[in-house]
């Protein structure tokens, strides 16, 4: 027999001002199964909790209803309180008479009546509650980091330094990401490579880190603590175990005209290559699309003739060229995943008014970084791509592919104001006679020392900032004409430029959406990961055990990315500090007698908690993996045969609530 | 008895005679000896700096030079505009290069050792306030006044070095001591149009009207000022404002020295209050102050 206690909270005046709490408690005494009912000013306070615990002992209560606020805040509080009094925590139910009642009504009489009905329903439900027990599962204390930019590097190092195993998967042949491509960093003007490459080397030599470059995540199964991941290791055609990275192959490769991804097309590379001199690993891969030997083989298959090459193979002192090497799939288990897949820059070729990406002397900020870099394609000389001449007048356009709804990018890219200011300053350092013009909408320099930096660029370096978006760029007599407006003076502006630099904004990394779907995490319309909570849980995704860092969740600068990486690392270390994970027992269960094996549940489950089980008779039925199930109830609603039920929210419980309301 | 070099400036010998008269009377009563700068010249006012920096510096510098010759340390200046020019040059003279150039223009060196202060500063020190409090013969009996400091007494603060530029208090303190009720208002240092009344009367009428409107809304029966230019713009233009905008303010405009003089027992006649273009005597008579 249920012996139910009802406790009505005043929540100060939050509830008591509109609900007659004493009257409600009085009414509750008459509900079926209720043996005790009372009211109190603050039940969540220690005195309030003790009142509940004392009543459990005194009245031998076996069910408790706390009529107060939304369970979102205090359900754990009261579950813990009743557990301390020896009751199964799932035999406590909350009746929300604040958000659902007192806060939204003004009439005291009506609110009191409604509060009474809410409690009547919950009493009916709690009478049918069953004790539930949380389960424990083990976990694999190994982290998977996806992405080898500065965020991924930092996260991997932090977790590895805490003593855990880490595998870092990077799509390109080297780690370093975009930061490796930068010449200097704002606002301190640190040499980007100088501060980054030591981290890259540390990572590659770390005993706890397994580095997998030229690799991609193919699939993710499982759940927090127990992910099973398939990783595609792309064939490098070079045996990295024997290769010493001596460089003979890439120096001698005759195919020297492949546009360099690392130099954003400003320079060329060979077919067997390392992306840049400090690449990690410092061993080459063969780009099969451009390798003359591979193309020779393909031609031969088509019955055509093409010259054989194999210069690298002939010259390699350690015989490390391996034409037979194939793509390989590695399966591994991880307890947590950090997604740090970075970003790409906006493709400005959609802007016809800026030349559809066709004018050679209209380049992007990232391209300028490569031109300014001493190890870049021009050895640090800033020249016009069209004729190799030094520019004298350089115009910068901010917000290209940012704050522009027409191209589907209404958001601010956060870093362009700062990197443009840095470029304007660096150009002056390269050549004091250069004139720079920066067209901007607003200057967004929110960061330590950022605003001061932008001021310095204007005041000390004399860069001419013009507030207004450029309308049109057109070539004229070997120069580029820029038509803009100085909105401060309200007058049109025309600048004749030798070089135009577009501050292209940040977009989600290529293939980001596919990756999010592979992992099973939520993302926004731009392909950025949605955080679990934008304020309070910024490095967690909506899937337990999957964290994020850097531009994966939207535009960020280096310090923000690194901070997030360390934050995500702490989350992982917190997870790995446990030997078992406790799972919420309020999960779905399948009545396998009723299940017809339609698997509609599998289709609707957002967490991949539905598994297939073959019964002895050969019948295939659904089974819920309780460690993965979040208790959302979608499967229960979808099941046509009523084979599914949600523990804590069974059909019987819910129907009892409805019935109680209708009978009242 | 403290002795001050006194620089009346051109207005106080003309349109603002009542300021000169009342200033001399109250200083005498409070034991401050004023010695008029011998053979003083116009400070250049609002015109010299419009066309020539060196003229704008040298004209007031000559007056400082004269004070140095008189052997006095401190010069007190009733006119806010003259004060601004004299104080500006006294700051500039700290730069040896500027000092040399000014010396060249003047045809003789000037050291810049003379301290320049506004008369409203000289007459609102705690010592003077205490002294005045003990000498009041006719308290101002709750006369509701708005204190108006204008632009140049307090701005720019680096040069003016007097009170504060937003919501100054010196005159307020003095007037409270005299028994006035000082109304709270927010236009104490808003510009009245300064030197534009002759060339762009329209602008001055507009700006002065804004000030008069605000003072009236704040409940003031009169405005108190320490600047002959402000006084002139507010006092003498009320007829034109009525003609153009229809607002009939009838708002008496006092120099702070006039009210101080009244409280110390000088009759309005002697203080030349009848000189105002906007009638001020009726208000005073109504309160038994004239």
């Amino acid at each position: 027999m249920p012996r139910i206690g009802v406790f009505v909270c005043h929540c100060g005046t939050n509830i008591a001002a509109t609900v007659d709490c004493g009257g409600v408690a009085e009414a509750a005494r008459g509900f079926p199964g209720v043996v005790h009912a009372t009211d109190f000013t603050y039940l969540c306070a220690e005195a309030g909790q003790r009142k509940i615990q004392d009543a459990i002992a005194e009245h031998r209560l076996n069910r408790v209803v706390v009529a107060s606020c939304s369970p979102r805040m205090h359900e754990p509080t009261f579950r813990k309180a009743v557990a301390q009094a020896g009751l199964n925590p799932y035999l406590m139910e909350m009746a929300n008479i604040r958000e659902h009642c007192s806060w939204v009504h003004a009439d005291r009489q009506v609110a009191t009546a409604k509060a009474t009905e809410i409690i009547r329903m919950v009493v009916a439900k709690v009478a049918r509650n069953e004790p539930l027990t949380a389960k424990q599962v083990g976990l694999t204390k190994k982290l998977l980091v996806i992405g080898g930019g500065i965020a991924g590097i930092q996260a991997a190092l932090d977790v590895a330094n805490a003593g855990h195993q880490v595998t870092l998967v990077e799509r390109t042949p080297t780690i370093g990401g975009k930061m490796a491509m930068l010449d200097k960093t704002f606002p301190t003007l640190d040499c980007s490579a100088c501060i980054l490459t030591p981290r890259m080397v540390e990572l590659s030599q770390h005993p706890n880190i397994e580095l997998r470059t030229y690799a991609e995540v193919l699939s993710v199964k499982g759940f927090v603590g127990n992910f099973e991941v398939e990783i595609l290791q792309k064939a490098r055609k070079v045996n990295h175990l024997t290769c010493t990275g001596c460089g003979t192959c890439w120096q001698k490769c005759p195919e020297k005209n492949v546009p360099s991804e690392f130099d954003v097309g400003m320079g060329r590379r060979t077919a067997i290559y390392i992306p840049f001199p400090q690449a990690v690993p410092n061993k080459p891969v063969i780009d099969t699309a451009n390798c003359r030997y591979v193309r020779h083989l393909a031609a031969k298959e088509r019955g055509e003739k093409l010259m054989e090459c194999r210069v690298c193979e002939k010259l390699c002192p350690t015989k490390s060229i391996d034409w037979e090497q194939k793509d390989e799939i590695i399966v591994d288990r991880f307890g947590a995943i950090i997604v740090a897949n970075g970003y790409d820059t906006f493709d400005h070729s959609v802007y016809g008014e800026y030349g559809y990406g066709k004018y050679p002397d209209v380049i992007t900020g990232l391209q300028l970084e490569r031109l300014m870099n001493a190890s870049g394609p021009t050895k640090g000389e800033v020249v016009r791509p069209s004729d190799g001449k030094h520019p004298h007048s350089v115009v910068f356009l901010a917000c290209v592919g940012s704050r522009d709804d027409k191209v589907g990018r209404p958001y601010c890219s956060k870093i362009c104001c700062m990197y443009t200011a840095k470029h304007a300053l660096m150009l002056k350092e390269h050549d004091p006679n250069i004139q720079t013009y920066v067209f901007y909408i607003d200057i967004r320099a929110a960061g330590r020392g950022y605003e001061e930096f932008v001021r310095r660029v204007q005041e000390e370096y004399g860069s001419t900032y013009i507030r207004g978006r450029v309308s049109w760029i057109y070539p004229q007599d070997g120069k580029l004409m820029i038509k803009g407006e100085d909105t401060l003076l309200g007058r049109p502006v025309e600048v004749e430029a030798d070089l135009v630099v577009l501050a292209t904004g940040i977009t989600a990394a290529k293939g980001a959406v596919d990756l999010m779907q592979t992992i099973g995490i939520s993302y926004d319309t731009y392909g950025f990961i949605n955080e679990m909570h934008p304020k309070l849980r910024p490095v967690e995704t909506n899937t337990d055990g999957v964290y994020l860092a850097g531009c994966a969740s939207g535009p960020k600068d280096i310090p923000d990315s690194v901070s997030q990486a360390s934050a995500a690392a702490v989350k992982v270390c917190g997870l790995f500090s446990q030997d078992y994970l406790t799972t919420d027992p309020m999960t779905s269960v399948v009545d396998q007698m009723k299940c017809v094996g339609c698997f509609l549940c599998e289709e609707v489950c957002p967490f991949r908690a539905v598994e297939r089980e073959t019964l002895r008779g050969g019948k295939v039925v659904a089974r819920i993996n309780e460690s993965v199930c979040k208790g959302c109830g979608l499967c229960v609603a979808a099941c046509r045969g009523e084979a599914l039920n949600l523990k804590g929210f069974t059909d019987q419980q819910l129907l009892a609530q409805v019935t109680a309301l209708l009978r009242a | 008895m403290s002795t001050y070099a006194y620089y009346p400036g051109c207005s106080l010998h003309g349109t603002a005679k009542e300021y000169d008269r009342s200033a001399r009377l109250v200083c005498q009563a409070l034991g401050l000896e004023l010695r008029e700068v011998e053979d003083w010249n116009c400070c250049g006012a609002s015109s010299a700096h419009m066309v020539s920096r060196w003229l704008a510096l040298s004209l007031p510098a000559r007056n400082l030079q004269l004070v140095e010759k008189m052997g006095l340390e401190t010069m007190t200046v009733p006119c806010a505009a003259c004060y601004a020019r004299l104080k500006d040059v006294s700051c500039e003279l700290k730069d040896p290069e500027v000092r040399d150039k000014i010396g060249r223009v003047l045809g003789g060196q000037v050291t810049g050792r003379v301290t320049v202060e506004p008369l409203v500063g000289t007459l609102t020190t705690q010592e003077i306030l205490d002294k005045a409090a003990g000498m009041i013969k006719k308290p101002l009996a709750g006369l509701k006044v708005a204190t108006y400091y204008g632009c140049l007494l307090t701005r720019p603060p680096k040069v003016a070095q007097f009170d504060v530029p937003e919501n100054p208090q010196s005159m307020d303190r003095l007037l409270r001591v005299l028994g006035s009720e000082v109304v709270e208002w927010y236009f104490k240092t808003e510009c009245c149009g300064a030197s534009l009344p002759v060339a762009r009367t329209d602008i001055v009428l507009d700006l002065s009207r804004k000030l008069l409107t605000a003072a009236k809304k704040a409940g003031a029966e009169a405005i108190v000022t320490a600047c002959p230019m402000c006084h002139s713009n507010l006092d003498s233009r009320q007829g034109e404002i009525r003609g153009r905008y229809g607002d009939d303010f009838k708002m008496p405009i006092f120099f702070f020295t006039e009210l101080l003089g009244l409280a110390l027992g000088y009759p309005a006649r002697e203080l030349l209050i009848a000189n105002h273009l906007t009638d001020a005597l009726s208000l005073l008579q109504g309160r038994g102050l004239a």
Binding site: P432, N433, Q435, R455, G462, K479, L488, L489, P492, V493, E494, V495, E496 | H13, G14, K17, D39, W40, N41, C42, G44, S46, S47, A48, H49, M50, V51, S52, L55, A56, S58, L59, R62, D88, C91, E92, K94, D95, E97, V98, V105, L106, P156, V159, P165, E190, C191, G193, A194, L196, V198, A199, R200, T201, I203, L207, G239, N275, H276, L277
Partner: protein, 207 residues
Amino acid sequence: MSVLKFASTDQPGRNGLLALVKAKTGQDVLACYQCGKCSAGCPLSSAMDLAPHQVLRAVQLGQRDLVFQSSAIWLCVTCQTCYTRCPQEVDLPRVMDALRSQALQEKIRPAERTVKVFHDVFLGLVERFGRLYEVGLIGGYNLLARQPLASADLGLPMLTRGKLELIPRRVKDQEQIKAIFKRAAELELEEITGQSVAAAPPASVPS
């Protein structure tokens, strides 16, 4: 509306307007970040063709004509509100002074002729008498500004209240006053012709 044009061959500092202002005032106009607080507080901005921040903007962009032909430089009464409140501490009244005197040197027709006439008459009287002669100021202005009746309605009440001195008062040392005018003008010219621009004074020195 005139287009602001920048050729690819432009040199840093452009046509020297920034440097000129810097030399005359010690003010770095590039420090202005165009927040507009000066214009927001300026009692005259509604009457100006260029708002105060736009005057600085035009200086930043080297727009000489725009600046020198503006009414703004003549309507500014140097009330100091802008400078007092400027977050970047740009002494705009001083920049205005410099732009005005430069415009005069370059013989540019003032956009506010009457304002210029007023100051001419004022200084003419000071040069002649050493002090301002108010009756002479009104009379002289009315004559030159071709506004014979300006302020006439104020004349009689002022006269009857003894506010007007009919006879000018003079400084005894007339020679020194005349010499001051002469030598100040020479010094001004010397600076503008660039002979001693480098030795130009810095901004007003706080004590």
